[in-house]
């Protein structure tokens, strides 16, 4: 079931929280939803999950509109809200039974689904406890379990791994990836590495506007433009090497690196490639080239560039 967000806008009073955002998530795709605090991520999630309607625009889930047909849409969505609100006074099993019933899971399937989710989310040892007695990580697992209890076509997760221990994070990521093969998953996170590791595609919003939409590789490429190399050249005088590097036609900028006296950062001109020239330079001067690594820009930097000026 695909999710189509079609130019939605939403204001709170005079403040525009979401401003004309459109994107599309296909079935079998995991999309990471990124943005700085207050960018409108949660508002967008709330509109997709039919918590509140958009002021303008529309969202369709499998062709059904959240504005005109919310009840039908809600049946196909599993939602884990940001703060993971739960009924603290209920026992885990009772709560999951409630979630299954209200999602319309057939009566004879409820038991099976509950125990399935307890298994998947690692709640077995705690299943008879009240939710309020659990640690934050276990509560997070209960939140995930209730979101997936009816085997939804669309899964919307706001910070799914917050509060989990590293082992559990790996398990939950794997679980999300497994679900994402057949289902549609939209996931909000502040941990960029997690988004990069889990998601097929990344959507970045900032100040209520969509600023980027693509795979992590394409985003990096788009923001990068110029090739940057880290090179280490030994057996020569620092300044001589520096000047020689600057003499290469395709090189725009050379910098000393502070950590190694013999290391340099070489930035090529737009569209140019200097790796062969650097190697040739070393051979000609009889210097030893001990390291040459292309510097990949981190997703963090891409994210900063895209969101800092809005």
């Amino acid at each position: 079931m695909e999710v189509c967000v079609e130019s939605i806008s939403k204001s709170y009073g005079f403040q525009k929280a979401v401003d004309n955002i459109s994107f599309r998530v296909n079935q079998g795709e995991i999309v990471g939803f990124l943005g700085p605090n207050g960018a409108g991520k949660t508002t967008t999630m709330k509109i997709i999950t039919c918590f509140m309607p958009p002021d303008e625009g529309n969202v369709t889930v499998g062709g059904m509109s959240v504005v005109t047909n919310p009840e039908e849409v809600k049946k196909h969505i599993g939602y884990l809200p940001e703060s993971n609100p739960l009924y603290k006074e209920m026992a885990i099993i009772d709560y999951l039974a409630f979630a299954a019933e209200i999602q319309g899971v057939p009566r004879d399937k409820i038991r099976e689904r509950i125990f399935g989710m307890i298994q998947v989310c690692g709640l077995k040892s705690e299943k008879h406890k009240k939710i309020g007695e659990l640690s934050k990580g276990y509560q997070q697992r209960v939140g995930l379990a209730q979101a997936m209890i009816h085997d939804p076509e669309v899964l919307i997760l706001d910070e799914p791994t917050s509060g989990l221990d590293p082992n559990q994070i790996v398990e939950i990521r794997e679980l999300i990836r497994r679900i994402g093969r057949e289902k549609t998953v939209i996931m909000c996170s502040h941990i960029l590495a997690e988004v990069e590791a889990t998601c097929d595609r990344i959507v970045i919003i900032s100040g209520g506007k969509l600023v980027a939409d693509g795979t992590s590789t394409s985003l990096r490429k788009q923001a990068q433009g110029k090739e940057i190399l880290k090179v280490r050249i030994e057996d020569g005088d620092r300044n001589a090497i520096y000047n020689a590097l600057r003499g290469i036609d395709s090189v725009e900028l050379v910098d000393f690196l502070p950590d190694h006296t013999q290391s340099f950062e070489v930035q090529s001109k737009a569209g140019a490639n200097s790796r062969r020239s650097v190697f040739k330079l070393c051979v000609d001067n009889n210097w030893a080239l001990t390291e040459m690594t292309p510097v990949e820009r981190k997703l963090e930097e891409v994210f900063r560039d895209l969101t800092i000026n809005t």
Partner: protein, 241 residues
């Protein structure tokens, strides 16, 4: 219908899990029992086989207890954020409102059912007007339903249970007392209107064993208004205060 019952069931269970229900039942039985049998204008003083004195006490104790039952129904969900999860489940706002209303109403039904021993005891003492007793209970149920819908509305407009409790009492006191007082002090159309708005007027006529469509329409309108207000407040979705 099924969805409403699922919500009602959960809400009732949480009443009993959180001791709310037990406190409510014990306090109500203790309070009404004390004044019905032991102290003040009690049955032995009146020296009649009737439950009039019980109905008079229940009329006031329910007025105070019901806001305590309803105050958390929506305010608490709002505060903890669970309302977000609830409204994103495949249920309509009306189903949520009615489910919660029914839960509080069933709790009151259970509480009132536990006072049947009073009825049985009094019936054993002398000749009792059975019709008046049943009408009295029906009146209490109607009146409770009114205050539940008012309390639910109060609970829907704030995230603070205490504030919800006070708002419910504030709205309730008009129907319980103020309209009646103004009505008895005024004449003509205005006086009649005030008297009609007083829950006491309608309850007393029912407790005497008289039922009139005017009374039923009055109770149903208050319930309808309260629930509609709740639904409106819930559908606004500004649930973060």
């Amino acid at each position: 219908m099924n969805k409403i019952w699922i919500i009602t069931k959960r809400e009732l269970r949480s009443f009993f899990n959180s001791l709310m229900a037990y406190v409510m039942i014990v306090l109500f039985l203790g309070f009404s029992g004390f004044f019905t049998w032991i102290f003040g204008n009690d049955i032995f003083l009146v020296n009649q086989a009737s439950l009039q004195s019980f109905f008079g006490i229940a009329f006031w104790s329910l007025f105070f207890f019901i806001p305590a039952v309803t105050m958390g129904l929506l305010a608490d969900e709002r505060k903890s954020g669970t309302i977000e999860l609830l409204v994103t489940k495949p249920v309509s706002d009306w189903q949520i409102v009615i489910g919660k209303f029914l839960a509080a109403f069933l709790l009151i039904c259970i509480t009132l059912a536990l006072t049947f021993p009073y009825y049985i005891s009094v019936a054993g003492i002398g000749k009792i007007d059975h019709g008046a007793v049943w009408m009295g209970y029906l009146g209490l149920l109607f009146m409770s339903a009114c205050y539940i819908s008012i309390g639910l509305f109060a609970s829907s407009i704030t995230g603070n249970q205490i504030v919800a409790f006070l708002i419910a009492l504030f709205i309730g006191i008009f129907f319980q007392l103020v309209f009646g007082l103004i009505g008895s002090g005024s004449l003509g159309l205005f006086g009649g209107l005030m008297n009609y708005l007083s829950i006491g007027t309608h309850f007393e006529s029912m407790a005497r064993g008289v039922i009139d469509s005017k009374d039923v329409i009055f109770f149903l309108s208050i319930i309808f208004l309260g629930l509609t207000g709740t639904e409106l407040a819930l559908s606004k979705r500004n649930l973060f205060n």
